[in-house]
Subunit: 257 residues, 2 copies
């Protein structure tokens, strides 16, 4: 009797931003396969006995995706109910699509359980709506951390600069100089507002703001570190208009910058 | 003593896809201001006595945004704890940004509570991951239902066609002929896979698939109606590889097409 795999999004890190369904499935599962991305608070809420960390092995090596794929099938064939817990949403830069295909190719039934994506929530908790009727009709999510085996970036920054919508770059701290440079070269206004949100919804959340022209300087001066999200576009200026009344920080107060 | 406003995302419609926090805040609130977008199941789970529908007034007229803004401030000044409940996420085409600015301008404290966005979950429950390492490095959300007072579309479909990433069009059934036409004209391959997801996670969820070239024909033949989401890009073909083992439909079985 084959078990069942749930590909579950954990949301951005706050345990209260788990969905009701994610919480129930975690509590009912035989095994929860996870990496570090769900964050310390959510992982601490799962009994140690049912947790299996496929993020990093002893010795600091990363577990290859092939091992995770293999382990999901193995557990399901053993009749287990498995939660594969992923930060944010499984289908937003989460390799959930690859895992779904691997499960289907091995005749393992699975269900996708969406989560709150950090690409929306991260800017949001900093007072930045990714869309706004007055400023933009579209939003694009890109990853700053592409497959390192790819020879060149698959992201067409020039087309993005021309599109005029909000840009949200996930895991985008390290390569900030590269892509802000490409956007400027493509003609995007250096005065375009930018917000950097570090550790969104995690303990120690921080926000730094600037412009496309000085974003790298702001990053270095404020010491912004991964994990962080970059928002580029007029919507980033919304923060300045709402921050004094925004109560999304720790203890219900906005964090200081 | 001023009250507090929570701008809360309800997720795509399944009550179990509310976040733990949204569920708690709804249960604790004095008043829940909502429209129809959270869907029938979530609205039915809220006691009638605390619900206030700002979606449509008697007589079929839409409530202007100005009334909703005014009512939020009025309730907060009366010391109430208010949940402003919005379908999906408040900051993804939800006018949450405007409401946040209005609250701040009137000295009303507020908190943003992100929700599962239908732009990710809608494709996902149909077996379509909006990103996939093998196919795309970016995803763009656009709305097919722009401000009708705008003279021309603010969406640059040509730039989107060039970008090469996944496109997700929300509320995109009615204007499907217009924007598929623009994408084809911009040189996008007519064989690009397309999926139409109607009533994602609601009772009666349906999926129809085709290509950029025949999407309008598919919509008409299958009778796809709003609310529905359009996904355009190679990722849409993932559905064909996983649907037989996907258990996201009613009763845990995939819905038939």
């Amino acid at each position: 009797m084959t078990g069942m795999v749930y590909l579950v999004g954990s949301g951005p890190g706050d345990p209260e931003l788990l969905t009701v369904k994610a919480r129930r499935l975690i509590d009912e599962a035989d095994v929860v396969l996870h990496d570090k991305l769900p964050g310390p608070e959510i992982l601490a809420s799962i009994p140690e006995a049912k947790r299996e960390d496929v993020g990093k092995r002893a010795g600091g090596e990363w577990t290859p995706q092939e091992y995770t794929n293999h382990r999901l099938v193995e557990l399901a064939e053993d009749g287990k109910t498995v939660v594969r817990l992923k930060g944010g949403d499984p289908f937003v830069f989460g390799r959930g699509g690859e895992e779904a295909e691997h499960l289907a190719a091995n005749d393992v039934p699975f269900e996708y359980v969406p989560g709150v994506t950090s690409a929306v929530a991260g800017p949001g908790v900093a007072g930045v709506p990714v869309t706004h009727r007055d400023h933009t009709s579209s939003v694009t999510f890109v990853t700053g951390h592409e497959d390192p085996t790819k020879e060149e970036s698959a992201v067409d920054w020039h087309a993005l600069a021309e599109g005029g919508g909000t840009l949200v770059v996930l895991m985008g701290v390290g390569k900030l100089p590269a892509y802000t440079g490409e956007l400027l070269e493509a003609g995007m206004d250096p005065a375009t507002p930018v917000a950097l949100v570090e550790r969104a919804t995690w303990p120690g959340q921080r926000v730094a703001t600037g412009t496309l022209g000085d974003a790298v300087e702001v990053r270095d001066r404020e010491g912004v570190e991964p994990p962080a999200i970059t928002v580029i576009g007029d919507v980033a200026a919304t923060r300045g208009r709402v921050a004094a009344f925004l109560r999304n920080g720790p203890g219900g107060q906005e964090e200081s910058e």
